[in-house]
Symmetry: C2
Subunit: 364 residues, 2 copies
């Protein structure tokens, strides 16, 4: 690795950021907006912060076409804390939710909801397919406070292009790994949350988008778990993660400059197609997800079927600057995460290396 | 402000960082440890992260002389989330704690504990003095899961140099605004927590130091609020705030290079003495806290007694590059926060400006 200057970072998160964003952060590091202070040093009660925060929020609103009837919150603790917060804030009437089980992270959302006393009804599951296919048909029985969906399954490599019919139920979406990379209609959701460290940028920030009329149902929640209190203080109830918000704001600007979510989705489809096309035609490598319409554009798990060969591939790829290709232990093999900031050239480099590797080991 | 190149940032948090740390972050921004990736882009499952994390943890252990019988957790959500987490994890037997009420932030800790069903007994209060003096005498009645103390009161400007006698009770300390700036014996505490954005550096990281034998009392807590689960996963139960941990690690190294907490305490005492000496001899400005032994070294509130004059002082100071001197609304006037990274020269500049200002308005 020591001699590799250019690398491609396939990490599932924290993940690659746009080069121009890294450069801007570096340039602004010692003095933010000529203040003489680093953005790491500014008070969250200063106009410098206020302006930066509101710009980021309004750019996100523009990017996702978020109606004014929705609040945008910038929180901490990752999606995992939102598994809890969502249940505490919204599962107040029936204390029962429907879980669309599309894999590991949706199961985790269910487990954490149960821990705060919410009944979790598995209304659909991808288990029969080993989570290589998405469940669309929901078995709804009785009343639910909401249905929970994971729009993109980082580990399993599946992604909802169309949402299941919810029969009038409120939908809560964990969009951690494809927010801003795939177009969704916010109006289809009562609440959306997403850890920033995959498709936005820095770890330590979690986006929550919530319909305003859903706020205030729960009473006497701890401040950091109470969307209503957080909304009232515009996400500055206590010290917000200033730097992570700043970095996210730079990414939002970068996305707007490139044409927004629709443009990004096209880029992501093009990147993913290059890799899937190769995988579909390879006799050595195979994709974990074969059902084309369920394939994620941001996370592509694949394998040779031979663990030792997978390990060798990962080792040799790493030496070539193709980094973090090791798959999640639940799926094994390799995984290429191709988030918004991941360049097309990186996929070309990967496919070229796979071709070379396949020849070396003698294509099966 | 536009023409001021050197500024002194008196912010109460997020606050000034060491110049050398900012420079190092800037230099390392595009490629962390020659990886070709920014530290913002590295996976929390990578050896790059692991090494950085363990170094930061071990440096903090060294700095605070934390015995091996204590876990160190790197969390998110600020002290406010720890108000909740501490109560959930430790107030499990009596469901009752004793609150040493030394001001706003200790009250907030009590309120959040009550929100999760814990009885809060105010065992001591600084209310009679308007929180300008610290309560030391505790009125303990019955059994407590723990007593809660705020070692430094950011808003009121008071600081415990010696701890109240706890009569064998477990002590939980919120050290957010003087951790690593004042020497305490970790053994006096069952648990210590601190938001990083005051005396360590970046917002978005919260340090928790907890005695290992206190873990595992609570059952079925949400993952992000469960110290035991967090300890088992070494603070990587989900994606940790990588950049904030990295920045904190750089600050820890800087502290070690300068001689650690004892050396820092001396520096802080010297800085604070310069300001307090001036305040005690000024006929225009007066310190909010007159009891010398209770004065904070990190947060110094002061005022003229004339709100309009305070406002004018703040405005003119700001124009001179003496930034963020506005006091908290609860105390009014001005506040100079002199955390570890704040330079002695900044206090000299402030005092010089105060002298000049006093002459201009005609010292009373």
């Amino acid at each position: 690795m020591d001699n590799v200057t250019e690398v491609y970072n396939f990490s599932a998160g924290p993940a690659v950021l746009p080069v121009s964003v890294i450069k801007k952060m570096q340039a602004e590091q010692p003095s933010f907006k000529d203040s003489g202070m680093s953005v790491l040093e500014i008070s969250h009660r200063s106009s410098l912060y206020e302006e930066m925060f509101h710009q980021a929020k309004s750019d996100l609103r523009k990017l996702m076409k978020i109606p004014d009837t929705y609040e945008i919150l910038f929180q901490q603790g990752g999606a995992t804390l939102q598994f809890t917060a969502t249940a505490l804030n919204l599962a107040t009437k029936q204390k029962r939710i429907g879980l669309i089980d599309s894999g590991h992270w949706s199961q985790r959302a269910g487990q954490e909801a149960q821990l705060v006393g919410v009944e979790v009804d598995p209304v659909a599951s991808g288990q029969a397919s080993g989570y290589t296919e998405l469940p669309y048909q929901l078995n709804l029985t009785g009343a639910y406070d909401y249905l929970h969906i994971t729009t993109n399954n980082t580990i399993e490599g599946t992604m909802y292009r169309r949402l299941p019919a919810t029969e009038g139920n409120l939908l809560v979406g964990d969009m951690s790994s494809n927010i801003l990379g795939q177009s969704y209609d916010v109006n289809d959701f009562g609440l959306i949350y997403a850890g920033a460290q995959k498709n936005i940028g820095p770890a330590g920030l979690t986006i929550v988008i919530v319909k305003k009329d859903l706020l205030g149902q729960a009473q006497a929640l701890p401040a950091m778990l109470d969307y209503s209190k957080q909304a009232k203080k515009d996400s500055a109830l206590n010290t917000p993660p200033v730097f992570a918000i700043y970095a996210a704001g730079l990414v939002f600007k970068w996305l707007l400059d490139l044409g927004g979510v629709a443009a990004m989705q096209k880029r992501n489809e093009k990147k993913a197609a290059l890799l899937y096309d190769y995988l579909d035609n390879s006799t050595l490598f195979k994709p974990a997800v074969t059902k084309v319409s369920d394939r994620s554009t941001t996370n592509v798990p694949f394998m040779t079927g031979d663990e030792a060969l997978d390990a060798r591939f990962i080792e040799e790829a790493t030496a070539q600057g193709l980094l973090n290709l090791k798959g999640h232990r639940l799926v094994g093999g390799m995984r290429a995460s191709l988030y918004n900031a991941f360049p097309y050239e990186g996929v070309e480099a990967l496919v070229a290396f796979m071709e070379k590797f396949a020849k070396t080991v003698g294509e099966k």
